[in-house]
Amino acid sequence: MIQINDLSHRFPNGNLALDSVNLNIKKGEFVVIAGRNGSGKSTLVRHMNALLLPSSGNVIVNGMGSSDQKDHWDIRQAVSMVFQNPDSQFVGMTVEEDVAFGLENLGMASDNIRESVDRCLQFAGLSEYSKTSPIHLSGGQKQKVAIASVLAMYPECIIFDEVTSMLDHASCNDVMDLINSVHKAGKTVIHVTHRLEEATTADRLIVMDAGRIVLDDTPSNIFLSGKVSDFGLELPPIIALAKKFKDSGILQGYLALSKDELLEDLCQLILKT
């Protein structure tokens, strides 16, 4: 649904943030984009909903090119974005108003807005906070509100730009659970992060460095290749351990991507011997 051809982006101050990127994202895919700070991840995803426009090359969303100004609102409705800082993306005085904001912009009638807002708050597990001011929520809850706010607009694809990077571990897991259920509900999900454990449930992992896509494969293939450390990323300890077992021939078959999978593999190994 998103097609990027030869995309380059140069900021007005001369920074070349993207250097001829080619990418094709299919409907329903769960893609994780990883890479060190400043590698161009945010710049790339901002092209996908027309917040930035190409210096050269083109971006096509559902057949609409982002270079055509009049398609911007349609593109932004099809591809929504949740941002890194939980504090600075609220417009409403209460949670429900913030979730309603996008629908109000689309000119929907009050009754329908109310209905969608309630549905989305329920999906995100936030119904009890509907009349609360976002300022009184925790970081994780704020990000969930932001996710509910974009869900309300019924986009086909949601981009999460480092939404977990300012959260503590528990909130991080909460938000990741919500992102996974958004994907299960049939949305195309693009998740930007530099924590590779968040890529384990993804269909596809893209690693960026210096404005280019350097790796693009399934997470386990990329983890097995051992190349991530070249690009400033670190394998999660569990996966690094599983990889050691596999490299040394102790474990065979698929690479275990979680604690439970690794434990199961090891148990089976013990039973066999």
Partner: protein, 263 residues
């Protein structure tokens, strides 16, 4: 901020159920009366009107009181200024300054006006959530040609609701910033100007950064500042019509009281 200061108190009184637009128009009428009121009779009449509205709302005396009380310093200041600096026949002399009868009268009138204004405003805010006030103002402004100023009533409403969220947020980041600078040895007493500089410059940067993020978030949710709907459905019903008519009539009577007295 104190908890009760101009805050909303959930309820289902007549005042709660009225359309916010009726209440905003009511407040505007009341302010006109308040600023015109000179005589004791007018002041009393306004007091009666307030009492009626107060009884129709489920507002508590405490809520009204806690909207006026934090302003006491300003009120005392206004009163004192008028008390000492109004020309007239002296009735008392304190520290070589004359207090005139006229000063006492004017001081009381002006102070009472402010108190009335605060009291009426607390009726509005205690019976209407701030979101509905915003929507009400937006609807009332919609017919006016704000375009000549380069904004729409929707922009104004969005600005109002954003600032209500942003002011506490900026206040929070200012405190963080101050702590950060203090812990790095900023001395506010010895170098006040340097301190001011090292606080304001980063603060401006923070504010712009936030504004930029916010603009991005609004734009990605299709905000265009043109016609938009609201989750709140405002209904100007029969009750609103009735209340506004009665209130308008009362206001007219009080408005023309000085003229009527001449007869």
């Amino acid at each position: 901020m104190t908890g009760m200061f101009f805050s909303y108190i959930p309820g289902n009184s007549l005042l709660h159920r009225l359309d916010p637009r009726s209440k905003i128009i009511g407040i505007m009428l009341a302010s006109i009366l308040i600023f015109r009121a000179m005589s004791v009779y007018e002041m009393l009449a306004i007091g009666v009107v307030f009492s009626i509205l107060f009884l129709l709302s489920s507002t508590t005396v405490k809520a009204v009181y806690s909207s006026v009380y934090p302003m006491r310093i300003i009120l005392i200041f206004i009163f004192t200024i008028h008390l000492f600096f109004t020309e007239g026949s002296s009735i008392l002399s304190v520290f070589g300054m004359n207090i005139s009868y006229e000063g006492l009268l004017k001081g009381s009138t002006v102070t009472l006006r402010f108190i009335y204004l605060l009291m009426f405003a607390s009726l509005l805010t205690s019976s209407t959530p701030s979101s509905l006030i915003t929507v009400g103002i937006e609807r009332l402004l919609r017919p006016f040609p704000l375009k000549v100023l380069g904004i729409s009533s929707f922009d104004l409403a969005a600005m109002m609701s954003m600032s209500l969220y942003f002011v506490p947020l900026l206040h929070g980041s200012f405190n963080d910033l101050k702590d950060a600078q203090l812990s790095r040895g900023l001395d506010m007493k010895r170098h006040p100007f340097k301190a001011m500089y090292s606080l304001t410059v980063p603060m401006i940067r923070v504010a712009f950064r936030m504004a930029d993020d916010l603009a991005m978030s609004m734009e990605s949710r299709c905000y265009q500042g043109v016609h938009r709907t609201s989750i709140f459905d405002l209904r100007f019903g029969r009750m609103d019509f009735l209340c506004i008519s009665i209130f308008g009539l009362l206001s007219a009577i009080i408005f023309f009281m000085p003229v009527l007295q001449d007869f």
